[in-house]
């Protein structure tokens, strides 16, 4: 019996300074040209600084940053940042995100809920999963899953574990 593990190791270094690495000027166009949350999510999630932030800051910190923007006077730039933080949550474990969001409602951010749902769907696809398959199926040592036609396709590594 072969066992496949979909690897999703994440660093959990926490530092508020990580947030400063996001260049708002690069985030703003993605927000300004977005007609749908899915477009924004895909564009934001493809930005290396957003991924890096999601890997280094924890959900609590990201939620605090979103909350600061939600409660403050908003500009297009600050809303773009809020949506970048929301997208960064998609790189965090869903249980950690859910706990950090307890009692929080960001109703002034119209796409927060949609982006969060897209993030949960993406992180669900990428979370560690054990898959049992037939012995006879030939498998390379390391293959990439084909792009899925379904929403939120995520390229994942399938690594054989003996």
């Amino acid at each position: 019996m072969h066992v496949l593990m979909i690897s999703n190791a994440r660093s959990t270094i926490v530092s508020t300074q990580n947030s400063a690495r996001l260049d708002a000027a690069k985030l703003l166009p993605e927000y300004m040209f977005a007609n749908t949350p899915a477009y924004l999510f895909e564009r934001m999630r493809a930005l290396p600084p957003v991924r890096e932030l999601g890997e280094k800051a924890d959900s609590q910190e990201l939620v605090q940053l979103i909350e600061q923007i939600d409660l403050g006077k908003k500009t297009p730039t600050s809303v773009a940042l809020a949506y970048a933080y929301t997208t960064a949550l998609s790189f965090r474990p869903q249980s950690e995100v859910t706990k950090a969001l307890e009692g929080k409602k960001f109703e002034s951010l119209a796409w927060f809920g949609a982006l969060l749902a897209l993030g949960f769907a993406a992180s669900k696809n990428a979370s560690p999963t054990i898959v049992t398959i037939d012995q006879g199926l030939p498998l390379p040592e390391r293959v990439a899953a084909p792009p899925s036609p379904a929403r939120n396709s995520v390229i994942i590594d399938l690594t054989r574990r003996e």
Binding site: P29, Y39, T77
Partner: protein, 162 residues
């Protein structure tokens, strides 16, 4: 909370929509086009012409389907409009001015929509000239593939009410 209009499809069913009120000042919106860096390459195309100033009230689907009154950003709402208003997919050879085009993402998201101005012709490599609203930014006339949205999976539609 964003303001929502009473907007129905032709069958009388409500269409979820919203008017962006995420920030208080339009100043940064007007200034932000200068920060759109790489996207500005589209504006240098000979067919490109801005038709309106940047405006948060409506997006591309709000322009195409909502009379420029409000934004429509949920994929299932766009799908319902196509079905309930009796839009039919048409081949490129039959496209006329006034037909619409939806830019479908691989995920199934309707990332953009536009209205055909000059139909696709072999001499223009079957790329039409369209007009569309670019997110929170302006309306522009442009070559259909010279914009921030992926034209590869675009589908033309014509409304055919019974």
């Amino acid at each position: 909370m964003p303001r929502e209009l009473k907007l129905d499809s032709s069958t009388g069913r409500h269409l979820t929509n919203w008017q962006n009120d995420e920030w208080e000042s339009e100043f940064e919106l007007a200034q932000s086009i200068g920060l759109c860096g790489d996207y500005l390459r589209f504006t240098s195309h000979p067919d490109f012409k801005v038709r309106s100033k940047s405006c948060a009230r409506y997006n591309c689907h709000g322009m195409t389907f909502g009379g420029r009154r409000t934004a429509i950003s949920e994929p299932d709402v766009v799908a319902r409009i196509l079905a309930e208003d009796a839009y039919t997919p048409i081949p490129a050879e039959t496209v006329q001015a006034g037909d619409i085009v939806i830019y479908w993402a691989e995920s199934g998201d309707p990332s953009h929509s536009a209205v055909v101005l000059v139909p696709p012709k072999p001499e223009s490599l079957n790329i039409p000239v369209v007009f569309s609203k670019w997110g929170l930014h302006f309306e522009a006339t442009h070559r259909a593939n010279a914009c921030p949205y992926d034209f590869q999976r675009a589908v033309y539609y014509r409304v055919n009410p019974e």
